[in-house]
């Protein structure tokens, strides 16, 4: 090989290396999957499609869009699909190159066809998390920093009528909590807002956080619980937004919290799962996984199910948890652990008929159903292609 060839080869390899290092190669998924279960039907938003399938058999009912039209692309989709009457509501999210779909779609539960869409307009951005509803109005948080209240029963310009719009100072990447005619919305402008759901007027704002809030607050006995990117977890009075307690943690909190009578459970981006005392915020125990915990833990009959970006699913029997002096719980405390899914897990699982449905982030297999008691794999979605019979057999 002469010098010229070597030089061309080196330059080509260097160029390829630069481009591959800089984002070339396989297009990474960018949107967090979201799973909802209604009866035996599962609705899964996963990258470029929303799927409806039978949670018990894995049989696909429909996918939206049925095929991707490059001239008029939909999605990617993220957040938990919202069942609203006879439609499923889901927002378009951000693609890996930053391009986004700014529409909120309503898909027929029966057919998987688009029924209506809401376009927030030129200043609209991605819908990273789900919309919520009070049964009549849909409240959808957008990446442009606005919360939209729309009434699908009324039409205006061929789309659901906009009732009001509440604007904050930065992105809204988490769904609001609706309770008793009020909405509680965390924002990237470091604030948590309480909004009157009827008028869209601000009731109060909590300004003690020093970094974005990207979770849906949890509400119990008049207290809101949520974490923020300032590596802290807050308890705030829902009536007036006054701080009740604040507990520092190790990393950004981007996981919604789950509660029982006396504890609250959530994870952080450094991979720690925490149990805090609901009344005081004191840390009861923590468990270390090997990567970020983004998904909300699921609690059922004193068993806590947690998924981590380290690709593992963990089940803890809360009655048997024993921590050391520092509060650390070791691996032996797990009831079971499934390490066979081999894909990063970012989204909240759902329980259905003794199975734990776990959405996968970057995989051809979109979800696994595990035995909730043992963690053993039972079913995958989509179902594997049927084995073809070999001629002569």
């Amino acid at each position: 090989m002469n010098r010229v060839s070597v030089r061309v080869l080196v330059a080509t390899v260097a160029g390829a290396l630069i481009l591959s290092a800089c984002g070339g190669g396989e297009v990474p998924p960018s949107a967090f999957p979201g799973l909802a279960v209604e009866g035996e039907s599962a609705y899964l938003a996963s990258n470029l499609h929303v799927y409806k399938f039978d949670a018990l058999s894995g049989a696909e009912a429909w996918r939206f869009p049925a095929t991707q039209d490059n001239a008029n692309p939909h999605g990617p989709f993220s957040g938990v699909p919202l069942k609203f009457g006879d439609v499923i509501v889901i927002g378009g999210s951000t693609g890996s190159n930053g391009a986004y779909d700014r529409h909120l779609y309503a898909i027929s539960d029966e057919t998987g066809q688009e029924v209506w869409r809401f376009d927030p307009g030129e200043d609209g951005k991605e819908f990273v998390d789900s919309a919520v509803t009070d049964g009549k109005i849909i409240y959808a948080p957008n990446g442009n920093g606005s919360l939209y209240a729309i009434d699908p029963a009324q039409k205006e310009n061929n789309q659901p009528k906009l009732i009001w719009k509440f604007s904050t100072g930065n992105r809204l990447w988490s769904k609001p909590l609706y309770a008793d005619g009020k909405l509680y919305q965390g924002a990237f402008d470091h604030k948590l807002y309480a909004i009157d759901a009827t008028s869209g007027k601000e009731l109060w704002r909590f300004e003690n956080a020093t970094a974005p809030i990207a979770v849906q607050p949890a509400l119990k006995d008049g207290v809101l619980y949520f974490g923020a990117f300032d590596s802290a977890f807050y308890a705030v009075n829902a009536a007036d937004g006054k701080l009740k307690w604040k507990t520092p943690v190790d990393g950004w909190v981007w996981s919604n919290a789950t509660m029982n009578d006396d504890s609250i459970f959530f994870g952080d981006v450094r991979g720690k799962l925490y149990a805090l005392d609901l009344a005081t915020g004191q840390r009861k125990w923590y468990y270390e996984t090997h990567d970020s915990i983004k998904a909300q833990p699921v609690l059922d009959n004193n068993t806590l199910y947690v998924v981590s970006m380290d690709t593992n699913v963990y089940a803890f029997d809360l009655a048997g948890i024993k921590a050391d002096a520092s509060g650390k719980v070791d691996y032996a405390a797990t009831k079971w652990r499934n390490d066979t899914l081999t894909r990063r897990l970012l989204s909240k699982p759902s329980l259905v008929e003794g199975m734990l449905l776990v959405p996968l982030f970057d995989s051809e297999i979109k979800a696994w159903a595990l035995d909730a008691n043992t963690g053993a794999r039972k079913l995958q979605f989509p179902l594997p292609p049927p084995a073809t019979a070999t001629p002569g057999q």
């Binding site: 030089r7 160029g15 930053g98 020093t210 970094a211 981006v269």
Partner: protein, 284 residues
């Protein structure tokens, strides 16, 4: 491997970029420019070494060709002679190889801090140093430049891809050493056309913020070239002179080599401080 690379290069640069962003009034483009300048300054000795080496190799082309021709049937002797004249094909590559992880680290730090997707922001959260808690309050960075350009989106007006093509073209053109060899010249010409087009094409679908980095990096590279030009010209002149004298040896009929006489040591030195051999000295 990826983790070590992140630990050594990407994580420090990510945090440094956010610190600079904080100091520079939350102006992300300014932060990119300043960090790129800092990195370019740190790697300047390596850049200089690489360009001087490339110039040397280019100036030595006639000499090397003559030696290759002369010893084409004696690979052992050929390699000895090449070594004697100071031919080192890795001389230009090695500094480049060392710079490579630094530049890729910088590139990844920019991609990471732009955090245009939910997943990339989640990844960013893992790498912000815990002992610098204030950095978390800076995310997401303000990615709107001059009120119109969203740095997290591909530039729909194509201004950034066009500027990337233009600056890459000039940068490649300037930093590619001239060659007397027709084939090498042709290859260089092809590369100077292909590289800008390749990067421009990439920028059509990449976030504009990455394009800003490429443009700034190219402009700094062009500036560096002009700053280093006197030194490069000196190195080139020295080595052209050396190559001119020693390179004529195998083909000049009036100067047949004396097989039993080894060449003087002074003629085979090729550092920038090497003395130029006097014409005809090989006969002595």
């Amino acid at each position: 491997m990826g983790n070590i690379f992140d630990l050594l290069f990407v994580n420090p640069m990510t945090n440094l970029l956010l610190l600079i962003y904080d100091v520079l009034f939350h102006n992300y483009v300014l932060a990119i420019i300043v960090l790129t300048i800092i990195i370019r300054l740190i790697t300047l000795p390596l850049t200089l070494k690489q360009q001087v080496s490339s110039m040397k190799m280019a100036a030595m082309q006639p000499q090397i060709k003559a030696i290759q021709e002369k010893y084409k049937n004696e690979p052992q002797k050929l390699s000895e002679e090449m070594r004697k004249v100071g031919f080192n094909p890795l001389g230009g590559c090695l500094p480049l190889v060392i710079q490579f992880p630094i530049l890729i680290g910088l590139y990844n730090a920019i991609t990471r801090t732009l955090a245009v997707t939910p997943f990339s922001l989640l990844e960013l959260g893992k790498y912000i140093y815990g002992f610098l808690p204030n950095l978390s309050s800076l995310v997401p960075v303000n990615n709107v430049f001059l009120g119109v350009l969203d740095l997290g989106q591909p530039d729909k007006l194509f201004v950034i891809p066009i500027l990337v093509i233009a600056t890459t073209y000039f940068s490649t053109k300037l930093t590619t050493p001239p060659s007397t060899d027709a084939q090498t010249k042709q290859t260089n010409q092809m590369m100077s056309m292909m590289m800008p087009v390749m990067f421009g094409f990439f920028m059509l679908s990449a976030p504009a913020g990455l394009g800003i980095y490429w443009i700034v990096s190219n402009l700094i590279g062009i500036g560096q070239y002009y700053l280093m030009k006197p030194r490069l010209d000196l190195a080139k002149a020295q080595h052209a002179a050396v190559a001119g004298t020693t390179g004529s040896t195998p083909t000049t009929p009036q100067a047949p080599p004396k097989p039993k006489m080894p060449p003087p040591r002074s003629k085979v030195k090729h550092s920038t401080s090497a003395r130029v051999a006097k014409p005809g000295s090989e006969k002595k």
